[in-house]
Each structure stands twice: as C-alpha cells, then as structure tokens.
Point group: C2
C-alpha cells in the first residue's frame, strides 16, 4: 500500500524519538531534526510506509552515533515480556481453544510498536493483557485454522522485540509443523532482529532466518534470496504487525495477517476499526483498498 | 514556553491538514508537503509553539490558493455550537454555582482545537458535554472568582471558532463588568477571528477587538498597540486555550488560564495531566516550568 500524507507526521515523530534516544545535547538534537526535515523534503511520497521509513531510519543511523538507537527499549520490552509469558502460557494451555487464545495474545503483543507511537507504558501493556482473552478476533480464523492444519511448512514473519515472546506462544501452538521465523536483517525502530529471536528462545521451537532487509516491514525486492525462497515455498505465511501488512498487501500469495489496527490509515486500508484484533487474509478484509489514500 | 521536538510532528500534521483542505490534486498535495518539509528544515526550534506555528501557517497560506483553509471547519463548528448553547445556557443558569459551571463548559469547548488534533468528531464533543457538569476544575477557582468580583475591566482572550460560543456563556456570567474579547488578527488554524466573534453574538455582551497578529496564540510583541494597551490595563485577563498559555506563560502580569491539557508537552509544562480542566494562574500550576523540554 502507498503511504498517506498522514504518515509523514508519524515519520517525523519516529525521527524525533530516535534523535532524543541518541543525541546528547539539545543543540545536537535540533541540528539533527533540521537535517532530517530538509532531507524529508525530497523523499518519494509514492512509496509504502515501510519503504519510506526504511530510508528515513537509514538516514538517521548515518547521522547518529549508534546504529541501533532503540536497543535499550527493545531490551526492556524483551525483559518485560519474558516475565509475563510463563503465566500466559499456562492460561493458553488451559483454555478451551488454545490456538485462538494464542492468536489473541500474539495480537495483544503487537501493541509493543514504537513505530506507531513513541511510548508504550507498562500499564497499557498490562491492561491490554487483562482484556486479551475476551477480545473478538476479526477476519477468518476458520481459514487460518484450516491452513495451520494442512501446512507442512509455515513462515512466520515477526514484527517487534518484546512482541516476539508472544509470537513464541503462538508458534508453540503450531508446533506439529516445521516453522521458520523471519526477523529483520538489521535494526530499524524496535523491530525484532536475530538477537531478539534468540532472547525469546525461538530457536528451541523454530528455525530463525533474517530477511536481509532493514525495512520495518517485508519489502520482497529488498529481501535476501534465501528469504524470498522461503516466502515462496512455505505452505502458509503468517505475517505479524502493520509494517508487514503495509508492505505485503499487494502480494499475490495467500498471507494471514495478524495485527492490531493502530492508526486510521491502516484502518481505512484494511476496513477494520482502529483497535481491532485482526487475523485475516486479504479476502477477509471488509474494505481492502490498495490505492493511496491521501 | 519553548517548543519541544515533539511539537514538530504536530506542526507537520497541521500542514498536512491544511494542504489536504486546500490543494486539489494528490500531486499538488505532495509538492506542497515537500516544500513545507524543506522549509521546516530551517525553522528556529527555540521559539514558542505558537511563534513557530505562526511562521508555518504564514508559509502555508503563501503556498495555498486560500488564505483561510480552515474556514469551512470553523463555520461547521460555529453552527454546531450555536445549536448547542441555548440548552447549556439554561443548565448553567439553573445550577447551584453558575460561574463555575460556565467555566466548565468554556473549558469543554476548548476541545474544538484543530491545532491539537486533526479531527474533532461531533460524537466526541457531545460526549464531553455530557460529562462537563461533573468535571473537576484544577487550579485556583477561588482566586478566579475573587478576581472576577473585584475587576472593573476584563480582557478575555478567545481561542477557537466554535469554542467561542462556549466563551460567550462564561462572559454572560461575568457581565456586571466591562469585558473586552480579543480574537486573532488574521486567520490561522481554526482560531477565532472577528467574524467568529460576530457569529457568536459577542458584541451583544462585550467589546470585540482583534489582537493584530496571525499567531495561534498571543505573542505580545507581534500584537497591535491597541491590544497591548488593553492587555496592560485590564484589571483581569482570562486566557483561553493552549496557544495563549504557550505564548503568555512568561508574562509577569497575572493571567487566569482556562484550557484543557491536550498534549504531553502542555502537561509537562503546566504540571496537570493530559485531559485536565485547568482554571489557574501560574502560581496554581503544580509543576510549572518555563524552560524548553526537548
């Protein structure tokens, strides 16, 4: 999908977040913001949001003294999630339908997204986990379940650090088949990379690959051959998060998208209200539109 | 107060709003956004938010085909408010303390602010009006009441169109004294100008002046001599909204600020949580800080 004018303030907010996390003095922060604003004045506004964001965060990393400004935030979210998942695992196991319950918690984990907003309070995460088990999931869970039952190989596209621990709980429910989890090829925003997959112990239950790209999404042309082969050959693809949806919503192969709708742009593109728990392939999105919404 | 890095995404969002309201084609919208982003790359980030916003909206008006992109939105909010205020006036009159009740509704009206967010749904306004009568007002209402009782002249600084009808209800409660309402000297965002004051019938109960400035706040150095004289000589100054607070919070004379805290920057500067109904002079702000918060 193409970006909207409304994506631009969000990109600028991400830039301000990264600058503040990395630049030491107020003067340096202002200098960096001037630099990124001027540079944004020439950015291609016909790209998908993850493609634009990839360029912006590359630019930021070239200006900042770190190539991973979100590392501390990612570690904190991993630690928080690690502490939470044992009890959630028990709850999932004891529920009437562990697969749908694991889907709910995986989608709940999708709020840990520093692309969509600049702070995720622990209170907000706890509150969402409290209500997770009762959340209606919109889309086509029956098709999702059927695809899980029939698939021999599943490619699971991770989204963010912290969230990846909740993805692990869902993968545990898919474990009769061979799973490969793909993470980003390099740090971008708080998206999960190999180290986050390792922190979540994904290697105990699935293969891990990185997609070879530093986009906060899955831009196939920018991904490695190994990843593209895996994407093409997997019986089922499960895609977590808005960034993966934004970059894969034009793809022809069936993909099950699991995410929380966190902004009006995604809401308009998918047809689901902001805040919805979505587990759907494109055919189950009520108002899917691939055109740009300016 | 000085702006924060967090103000920049909000300015860009305002620019996107104004561009979308005025530019006809998608290509024109993108061209304008590129232009404003590049131009923002050189803006002085040591200004107050209203001073920066003044420059940005001047620039926008020079690029757009209209000098008042928000006129339609302002008319719609005026019409909505005009329909609502007769019943609210009755409710205020019949309440135990009409002055504090009018203050509550005046502050409720302050949500009609297209600087702080890009859409104010009618549902949101109705919902806020439903709960308005029960809202605690933070600050020093006793001092406010005392100042109202003692003042012979009051200068009331209006904020937004639509909201100005609710200001009228408060002015009706102050009507034993001579009131002057000041509006912006030229259109900027959805801030009220002379025509909005006339639409709200302010001239029936108060004098109306414009402040001679096109800033979405009150930057005294940018205001007319007539306004500054009025500001200096008034026994009491009542200032509505965030923009007036942002631009007047360094002033030495006593000012009673009435606003809803609508963003974390104002929350940090005033010491009141986001969403608070504030009626306070600076001495009653729990954590007032005049420094820049980057």
């Amino acid at each position: 999908m193409k970006m909207s004018l409304d994506c631009i303030p969000c990109f600028i907010r991400q830039a301000a977040d990264a600058v503040r996390m990395s630049a030491s003095s107020a003067e340096e922060q202002k200098h960096l913001m001037h630099n990124i604003l001027q540079w944004m004045g020439e950015i291609d506004l016909n790209q998908s949001p993850p493609a634009a964001s990839q360029m912006i965060h590359r630019r930021l990393r070239s200006l900042l003294t770190t190539d991973d400004p979100y590392r501390l935030a990612k570690d904190q979210h991993n630690q928080l999630a690690a502490a939470l998942i044992p009890s959630i695992r028990q709850y999932i196991k004891s529920s009437a339908d562990p697969l749908i319950m694991a889907v709910r918690y995986a989608i709940t984990g999708n709020i840990i997204d520093l692309g969509a907003k600049n702070k995720i309070g622990y209170g907000e995460i706890y509150a969402d986990l409290q209500s997770a088990s009762m959340q209606p999931v919109y889309g086509n869970m029956d098709s999702f379940k059927k695809a899980v039952q029939e698939a021999k190989t599943i490619l699971y596209l991770a989204d963010n650090a912290g969230e990846i621990f909740f993805d692990r709980l869902l993968i545990e429910q898919l474990s009769r088949v061979r799973i490969t989890m793909a993470v980003r090829g390099a740090p971008v925003i708080n998206d999960a990379t190999i180290s986050d997959a390792e922190a979540a112990g994904i290697s105990e239950i699935a293969d891990i690959i990185d997609n070879g790209s530093d986009a906060p999404g899955t831009i196939l042309d920018d991904c490695s051959n190994e990843f593209r082969l895996c994407f093409k050959n997997a019986d089922m693809v499960i895609s977590k998060g808005q960034g993966n949806f934004e970059s894969l919503s034009e793809e022809k192969r069936e993909i099950f998208f699991l995410f929380r709708t966190k902004c009006p742009i995604i809401s308009r593109h998918s047809g689901f209200c902001v805040g919805t728990y979505v587990a759907a392939n494109l055919s189950a999105m009520p108002n899917y539109s691939s055109g740009a919404i300016l």
